[in-house]
Symmetry: C2
Subunit: 96 residues, 2 copies
């Protein structure tokens, strides 16, 4: 199993619009990607403009399918103007 923690910093004032799009992304990923185990949006406490997607994928091909998905590209493009720089992504392997 593969994990990822994607930290997103957004522009001040973009919270409402960003959350709407990011929840759309969460719903689309969970509904359409059979290789997804977990894909959930969180807001970092004590920070007004930081969010984290906690992500788990069955395997490397599930990660590829995620990146190639139409909804990922389409909603990601809409999220772009609200972002304050690129996301910081930590990639991981499950320890077992």
């Amino acid at each position: 199993m593969i994990g990822a923690v994607a930290e997103l910093t957004i522009k001040e004032g973009s919270q409402a619009e960003f959350e709407k799009l990011a929840l759309e992304m969460e719903a689309a990923v969970n509904a359409n990607e059979p290789g997804i185990i977990l894909y959930k949006l969180f807001k970092v406490k004590d920070a007004s403009n930081k969010y984290i997607f906690m992500e788990q994928y069955k395997d490397a091909s599930a990660v590829e399918a995620h990146r190639a998905a139409e909804h990922f590209r389409r909603i990601g493009k809409l999220m772009g103007p609200h972002m304050d720089g690129p996301p910081t992504i930590t990639r991981m392997d499950k320890v077992s």
Copy 2:
């Protein structure tokens, strides 16, 4: 729902012993804490000594129960000598 990402940096050479204890922690938490939704150990790619626990709790009292649990204190104490400094914990709230 409350989320946390706990990043642990361990001493070089401690990997095997650390992983054994951290998997014991994962099993004990999942078996004994009804307020836990997710508690999984990952190893950061491209880093020999960084690990992440991805954590999700039902509510604030589940977080308190986790911190107070006998297994958390006991296994945490055994993990201590393998750690290279305190963990970095990012606390979050689920966006909904």
